[in-house]
């Protein structure tokens, strides 16, 4: 089964292209789709309600998508999770809030500005009434604190909320019993939680007066599993045989490491938190030199510290995979937010000139597949693969068809060296690499040198060898370009506008373009951003209007594409306030650009 589909899918027709500024409700897909948002201070144990809601809704057969945004603090503040529930697959973040569980005071503006008269606001009136009134809204009092206290602890609040959600969907009051028993081994505690759940369930059911907010779907598809970007990337890497991972904790790059650390035995993987990112990359390079399949995971600031180590991997032709989880910079920037502004950093990181491959997962499935692909390329060409994700992608999830670990290319074993083995032997005509040996396997010596080196890996200042080694390393790009993943295409076969994106903007943009029913605009989404595939080069050279949609302030991908092909964006849609594009924002922004074009089209 091919992992990467080139097929262009047809768009469903919903509405005409709207003029900018129209009421957003007018352009919502008519499919039943309910958005629940939880808002609470960090440390309140809200995760229980979220997890349970997600699990029971999925079990009931609904399509669920979740996305998290949080402040850079351990306690307090006000974080939110969006759970989008639908009868058809949903994979993108929206601005609309249908049900808002406002569980801690001081809602932040990113939430309050999305509250409309249609938003139902729920929580404890004792704590929230004044704040909600000041917004000109009314709230539905769940009296959580008191009800929970009656059961013995305020901690039961989140279980009441979970029950309430089950109630409004009318999933049955015992729907979560199994999940609760799994979560609470203690029988007494488990019983109390079930009681809390049932209290919430009654409240919810009464609230909707026996009319569930969404009709019950046909039974679930069965062979699906809920994955977020973090676990998908980690599972993809593990499937590729990653058996050495190092990291220094840094949001949002830590999730992948934590997943490995937790499952180190299952994955048969050494996982070490190290003193700094410099150590992380050098240790990974050492491990990879000796044959491990090594990865580091970090974010922008940590990656900046890894640049010299990346350069070391470059000159020593050591296969290493870097997971670069993007967050807004410069410097500490917005530590827990999302952005796509490290593309150029990744492309140019490390002093000197050496080849590399850059991957940008579009969604959860793509994160799994590309992590595997990154290992394959790194080991096949003895280069460095960088996987560019971001906080939004890593912290959002939905049920996916169970990924098949065997779909990831199998590791490439090292060669058994012979006496006289040369680690950096010049490749034969038509080949790109020197056979990869490891120390202690075979009769040869396997050396490694950060200096420019001879074929045997010893220091040299010979001008001819220098020139030949530079060319040997860079020539790999020819083959890597031929194997580069083509972009995904969505939309009409004939179009006069190409809407181009990379990475996690894909799903919100795809949904927005479906809503806009773009007849003359196609979506071109790149999951490999360097080197560019032949197919992308061909597409970009076609004479059509190009709109780049990116999560950064300067249109980095457009600039990279222009520098590589001479062609870049005619227009851009950019966002850089720390949040992902919502579907509605893209509908509005792209709608405006496309509508402007419509007026002057005069038939095509």
């Amino acid at each position: 089964m091919p992992i990467y589909s080139e097929a262009a899918g047809p768009f469903c027709l919903i509405f005409d292209i709207p003029q900018g500024g129209k009421d957003m409700d007018m352009i919502h897909a008519p499919e039943p789709d309910v958005t629940i948002t939880f808002c609470a201070a960090a440390g309140l144990g809200l995760q229980t309600a979220e997890d349970l809601a997600r699990q029971m809704l999925t079990k009931a057969g609904y399509c669920v998508f979740t996305a998290r945004e949080y402040m850079s603090r351990v306690r307090g503040g006000n974080n939110s999770t969006q759970i989008r529930v639908s009868l058809k697959p949903v994979r993108a973040y929206v601005g609309r809030i249908d049900w808002l569980f406002a569980l801690s005071p001081d809602l932040r503006s990113n939430i309050t500005e999305k509250i409309t008269e249609k938003t139902k606001i729920l929580g404890d009136a004792s704590a929230m009434r004044d704040e909600i009134s000041s917004l000109g809204r009314e709230m539905i009092d769940l009296d959580l604190a008191k009800r929970a206290a009656d059961l013995g602890s305020t901690k039961f609040s989140s279980m009441i909320v979970a029950g309430f959600i089950a109630g409004i969907f009318m999933l049955g009051e015992d729907t979560a019993d199994e999940l609760i028993e799994k979560r609470f081994a203690d029988a007494v505690l488990s019983d109390k939680n079930k009681r809390a759940f049932r209290i919430g369930y009654q409240l919810g059911m009464e609230h909707v007066k026996g009319q569930p907010v969404l009709m019950l779907p046909d039974k679930g598809t069965g062979d699906e599993i809920f994955l977020d970007g973090n676990s998908a990337a980690a599972l993809g890497a593990a499937s590729a045989g990653c058996n050495y991972i190092t990291a220094y904790p840094m949001s949002p790059g830590t999730g992948v490491f934590s997943y490995f650390a937790k499952n180190a035995k299952l994955f048969d993987c050494a996982a070490e938190q190290v003193e700094d990112e410099i150590s992380a990359i050098n240790m990974a390079v050492g491990a990879a030199y000796a044959g491990a399949r090594a990865m580091v995971t970090t974010s922008g600031g940590g990656f900046a510290l890894m640049c010299e180590g990346l350069s070391l991997a470059g000159i020593t032709e050591t296969p290493v995979v870097v997971h670069l989880a993007q967050r807004p910079g410069p410097a500490t920037g917005l530590a827990t937010r999302t952005e796509q502004a490290d593309l150029e950093l990744a492309l140019y990181a490390g002093h000197g000139e050496f080849p590399r491959a850059l991957y940008a997962p579009l969604n959860v499935e793509s994160a799994f597949a590309l992590a595997g692909r990154a290992f394959h390329t790194a080991h096949k060409y003895q280069v460095q693969s960088i996987i560019l994700t971001d906080q939004y992608l890593l912290d959002s999830g939905y049920p996916v068809a169970k990924p098949d670990p065997s779909s990831v290319p199998a590791p490439i074993p090292p060669v058994r060296t012979k006496n006289g083995y040369k680690r950096y032997a010049f490749p034969a005509e038509g080949e790109y690499i020197s056979p990869f040996g490891v120390p202690g396997f075979g009769e040869g010596f396997v050396s490694f040198d950060s200096h420019e080196h001879t074929e045997e890996a010893h220091i040299t200042e010979d001008r001819w060898i220098r020139k030949s080694m530079v060319e040997k390393r860079l020539k790999k790009l020819e083959a890597m370009s031929r194997e580069a993943l083509p972009p995904r295409l969505h939309g009409p076969e004939k179009y006069d506008t190409a809407v181009i994106c990379w990475g996690s903007v894909f799903e919100p943009l795809k949904e927005a373009m479906e809503i806009l029913d773009c007849k003359y605009a196609a979506l071109i989404a790149c999951e490999q951003v360097y080197p560019l595939s032949e197919k992308f080069r061909r597409l970009i050279s076609l004479p059509c209007r190009k709109i780049f949609v990116e999560g950064n302030a300067t249109g980095q991908f457009s600039r990279v594409v222009r520098s590589l092909t001479g062609i870049g964006a005619d227009e851009t849609i950019l966002k850089y306030n720390g949040f992902q594009f919502t579907v509605e924002e893209l509908v509005e922004e792209l709608g405006k650009l496309l509508a402007a074009r419509e007026l002057g089209r005069g038939g095509c």
Partner: protein, 283 residues
């Protein structure tokens, strides 16, 4: 000099009379005495004059970045436990640029030997003060004398939990060889700081200073008293030489890693992806 299986016959670019020649000789004698297969030995270094040493040995030569020999060596050993891994470099490389790694490598306790050729000066970059240069020494970049206090690597290593800490001298190849043999045999991280003169840039810590200002400890002494080791590591003029501290070995970094916990020492390159376990996790 005796012939060993580790002899390299090419050109060596150290200054004539450099202490590094003697340390190289001690190291080759030690490897030879241990009857190690050169194909199973990796000598890893950073950057500096001493860090050129892997190139002058017939074994697997790893020459990485300045200051980063220890993370590199740690990764190599954890990737293949059958290899004997030695990290070598100078005082600037290991204690300056790599100072953070020095502390944390000791805490981590990989089964590697760390040889530091300590000439108390930067050689490769031509004579600047290093982390172990004595206060007051005038250098091209400290023309009025070094003002920062010298680092005490032995005391630092002890405080970080090293189970083998030794100081040797380029002036005594035989006894230095003995110390290196014991360091390599010791399970876990072992530090061998080796005093050596820099004949080009250090006019203070010369061959004469070395013989006048150092004194070998009794080889038979019990080196397992940590407080005594700390006291010894603070002694100066004469600076004690030999094994300052050696305790019972502790669990190594590699032993703590998941792949080796079930006594399976298969190198990581020979392991297949754990596809079945991943499938189970997904079910």
């Amino acid at each position: 000099m005796i012939d060993t299986a580790f002899d390299y016959t090419g050109e060596i670019s150290w200054c004539p009379g450099c202490g590094d020649y003697k340390i190289l000789e001690s190291l080759k004698m030690a490897l030879s005495e241990l009857r190690l297969d050169p194909r199973k030995v990796v000598v890893a270094s950073g950057i500096g004059q001493a860090a050129k040493m892997p190139h002058y040995l017939k074994c697997n030569c790893v020459n990485g970045l300045h200051g980063r020999a220890l993370p590199l060596a740690t990764g190599i050993k954890a990737s293949n436990r059958h290899l004997t891994v030695i990290a070598v470099g100078g005082d600037g490389d290991m204690y300056g640029e790599g100072g953070n790694h020095f502390m944390h490598a000791i805490r981590r306790n990989p089964d590697i030997t760390n040889i530091v050729c300590n000439n108390m000066i930067y050689g490769l970059t031509k004579g600047q003060g290093s982390p172990t240069t004595p206060v007051g020494m005038k250098t091209p970049t400290q023309p009025f004398g070094v003002t920062s206090k010298p680092l005490n690597p032995l005391l630092l290593a002890l405080s970080c939990g090293a189970t083998f800490v030794a100081r040797a001298s380029a002036a005594d190849t035989e006894r230095t060889k003995d110390v290196i043999v014991k360091a390599i045999r010791h399970k876990g991280y072992a530090l061998v700081d080796i005093f050596q003169p820099c004949v080009s840039f250090n006019r203070t810590n010369t061959w004469q200073w070395l013989s006048k200002s150092t004194e070998w400890l009794d080889e038979e002494r019990d080196a397992s008293d940590k407080l005594e080791a700390m006291r010894l590591s603070m002694e100066t003029e004469p600076y004690p030489l030999g094994i300052i501290y050696m305790s019972e070995p502790e669990k190594t970094f590699e032993e703590n890693q998941a792949p080796y916990q079930a006594n399976d020492n298969t190198p990581l390159y020979a392991r297949a992806p754990a596809l079945e376990n991943i499938r189970k996790l997904l079910s």
